[in-house]
């Protein structure tokens, strides 16, 4: 088990859209000794609330305790745990890769294989945008290393529950969302 991947869980946390709420959440993790693997915050369709998507490293603390402590924050309205096989999870990466004339073709080819897109081009580098599941981004990052990564930025995961589980009636249309 020594080299087993750390166990990650995704929590989708609906919070009141109030000043300092992110500090409360982040501060709670720090003082209770829970580790955050990634974190993304965005407004929701209801302006009173925001959604924080937190990927927790649950080897640092039992997930249940993390959720219960989070829920004690007055501004936290709802917590949904998104188990990996019950959620759609996506992450976005922007990466600037060295692409000298000699290797540029190979980089472009890999970007196409991964269904990314080139969003900026310089004399000897390109900036690639890639969205997808986190391990797909990991793989791409690994491949790009060989060419030389100049700068890299990832957003952290966002996630929503899979529809099949929540509403079986929607199964017929779910093909579109895949």
């Amino acid at each position: 088990m020594a080299d087993a991947k750390p166990v990650h869980h995704t929590l989708s946390v609906l919070v009141e859209n109030k000043a300092g709420v992110l500090t409360r959440v982040a501060g709670l993790f720090a003082r209770r000794g829970f580790n955050i693997y990634s974190l993304a915050v965005a407004p929701t369709d209801d302006e009173r609330f925001s959604r924080i998507t937190i990927v927790v490293d649950v080897e640092s603390a039992p997930l249940e305790q993390v959720q219960k402590q989070l829920f004690k924050l007055i501004n936290v309205v709802k917590i949904t745990e998104l188990a990996p096989d019950e959620a759609v999870e996506r992450e976005l990466m922007l990466v600037t890769v060295s692409a000298e004339p000699g290797t540029r073709g190979q980089v472009i080819e890999l970007v196409q294989v991964f269904e990314g897109s080139i969003v900026d081009v310089g004399h000897d580098a390109v900036t690639v945008m890639l969205a997808g599941a986190s391990d797909k981004l990991d793989d791409f990052e690994e491949l790009m290393r060989a060419y030389g990564i100049v700068e890299l930025q990832r957003t952290g995961r966002v996630a929503l529950p899979k529809l099949e589980r929540q509403a079986p009636r929607l199964r017929s249309v779910s093909g579109k969302v895949g």
Partner: protein, 579 residues
């Protein structure tokens, strides 16, 4: 009705039924102090803001109503961080109001600016920075609601000066009082789950060696009467934690007293050997469990708490019940009755005999020598206990004297024992006693304090003298930071590092007199009772007695830190050896 923010704040406090507040003014809070002159709320002017916070705590613990403290920005706000943390650890409902620099100056390092909400976020249940005068009544309403419902705790409201200062147009507001609070993320569960309650009742009836483990939640929920009913219905013995002392009367034959690091042998060992811990408003604190992996190894656990996060935090319960402990106990009593009540209980004759045998063989021991060579601190406490009314409120500092007070006092009434359990704040005693006396002027209030603790907050006796709050203070003066000395003696090979205080410096009686109190000094056992009686007869000013007690005395029993409760050490000087 048009008001300014300062007026609205004081009026909101009046609407919440606040009768008294503790505080000290300064620049940023000045506009809120002005309307106090015209308010029926009594304001008690402290000598240090830490005192205001602990007074609010003492008031809250003695009365069950939220304590209120108000101070200015910057250094005053930082001075009150210790009481906030103390109240957070012990779930004490207090509302602290701090002044703040004007909204336009926030973030500029203005004079006496500090990030009060940032600093206090980890030590409050919730806090608010109010930026509009119009929000003041709503925030005050929310703050009192959050402090006093669910698991009680401290809250803080930070109020910038521009929204309270009548000279500033931003302070204008149209008065209103919100009918209800709208906090979509805050809905404490108070009713226990009926299926879990039935399951708990079943376990209770079957258990052969059950113990009720009663914590501070019993007092917070005013659950004493229900707890007595449950214990008497089932015949199960009760241990009361440091925070739960008085939540079940010591005089009840089913009471086993305090468990934990300095608990008595029977309380500690009964938990260790039990097959069912009925945990009511307690949280498996490390001072109770000792080494968690060795704690009560054979016990199933029923855990009732209003805070869901406590269930499973330290020990996984077999039956978790989230709810108000009084309501849950009432339901438990019904459920046990439905199963047949007393008649449905397993045969516990052997267990009851075992408990009685432990109590007989290992009572708390102390001996006051007849030759008068030394004065034993336990003797002072026992004499004080016997010379004061049953409903006397006892407040303590932190250290050996605190443990002796908890061990040797007989608490037969709820809210008669007030101490700093979770944070262990030296200096808690004097100001908390002042707050308790303000809340319960009908009761006698004694602080049992250490010489070290007393020196941390003694200035609040000036507050007490000038406000005519006649508390009484017994200093168990052992000339040492005694508890630390005890650890150095036992675990650091008697290498005493920075624990000596001197018995005479300061001169406590003279210091007391200088602060407007009556001051006495007692050196011998013979003088103990007469001096206490003199103190009890004084009711127009505070009294301080400097008891010169044996510096060598240690607190026993003791479970060494991090050790198993099975390794409890009894008092070696009593010839009983270890166990």
């Amino acid at each position: 009705m048009e008001l300014n923010g300062g007026q609205a704040l004081i009026k909101s406090l009046e609407m919440e039924g606040v009768e008294v507040m503790f505080g000290l003014p300064g620049g940023a809070i000045l506009p809120v102090y002005d309307p106090i002159i015209d308010s029926p709320i009594r304001h008690i002017l402290v000598r240090h803001e830490q005192g205001a916070g602990h007074m609010a705590e003492g008031y809250a613990q003695a009365t069950g109503r939220p304590g209120v403290a108000m101070v200015t920005s910057g250094p005053a706000a930082t001075n009150i961080v210790t009481p906030l943390c103390d109240a957070y650890m012990d779930s004490v409902p207090i509302v602290v109001i701090t002044g703040q620099v004007g909204t336009a100056a926030i973030g500029t390092d203005a004079f006496q600016e500090c990030d009060t909400t940032g600093i206090t976020m980890p030590v409050t249940k919730h806090n608010w920075l109010v930026t509009e005068a119009q929000d003041i009544p709503r925030v005050v309403r929310e703050a009192f609601h959050v402090a006093t419902t669910g698991r009680p705790g401290p809250v803080l409201i930070d109020v910038p000066k521009d929204i309270t200062d009548p000279k500033n147009p931003r302070s204008a507001m149209e008065w209103y009082w919100p009918e209800s609070v709208d906090l979509p993320g805050y809905k404490p569960t108070v009713r226990g789950h009926p299926r879990m309650i039935r399951e708990a009742a079943r376990l209770i009836c079957q258990a052969e060696r059950p113990i009720i483990y009663a914590g501070g939640g019993i007092l917070k929920a005013n659950a004493t009467a229900s707890l007595v009913e449950l214990a008497e219905l089932t015949g199960i013995h009760v241990v009361t934690t440091l925070m739960g002392r008085g939540g079940f009367p010591d005089g009840n034959p089913l009471c086993l007293g305090m468990p934990g690091m300095h608990g008595n042998y029977t309380a500690v060992t009964s938990m260790q050997r039990s097959d069912l811990l009925v945990t009511l408003g307690a949280r498996f604190d490390d001072r109770v469990t000792g080494k968690v992996s060795a704690f009560a190894p054979d016990a199933k656990v029923i855990h009732v708490d209003i805070d869901p996060a406590e269930l499973g935090k330290v020990r996984r319960p077999d039956v978790p019940i989230v709810g108000d402990v009084r309501l849950v106990i009432e339901e438990l009593v019904k459920a046990v009755r439905e199963l047949g009540g007393r008649g449905a209980q397993a045969d516990r004759a052997a267990w009851d005999a075992q408990l009685a045998d432990w109590q007989r063989r290992h009572p708390l021991v102390d001996e006051q020598p007849d030759d008068g060579s030394v004065l034993k601190p336990q003797f002072v406490i026992e004499t004080l206990r016997d010379a004061t009314p049953d409903d006397t409120i006892v407040v303590s500092g932190v250290g050996q004297h605190q443990m002796w007070a908890s061990q040797y006092w007989r608490f037969d009434n709820p809210r008669t024992w007030i101490n700093s359990g979770g944070l262990g704040t030296m200096g808690f005693g004097v100001p908390a006693a002042v707050g308790a006396k303000v809340g319960r002027p009908d009761r006698m209030v004694w602080a049992i304090d250490g010489d070290g603790c007393f020196q941390m907050t003694a200035q609040e006796l000036v507050t007490a003298a000038s406000e005519r709050i006649p508390i009484k203070v017994a200093i168990l003066n052992n000339a040492y930071l005694g508890m630390v000395r005890q650890w150095q003696e036992l675990f650091y090979e008697e290498r005493y590092s920075e624990v000596y205080l001197s018995p005479d410096l300061p001169n406590y009686a003279m210091w007391a007199e200088a602060m407007g109190c009556e001051g006495f000094r007692v050196d011998t056992a013979d003088d103990v009772l007469p001096t206490i009686e003199k103190a009890n007869s004084i009711d127009d000013r505070p009294v301080v007695i400097d008891f010169r007690v044996d510096y060598k005395e240690k607190v026993y029993p003791m479970v060494p830190a991090g050790g198993s409760n099975d390794d409890i050490i009894l008092d070696p000087s009593m010839g009983q050896g270890g166990h």
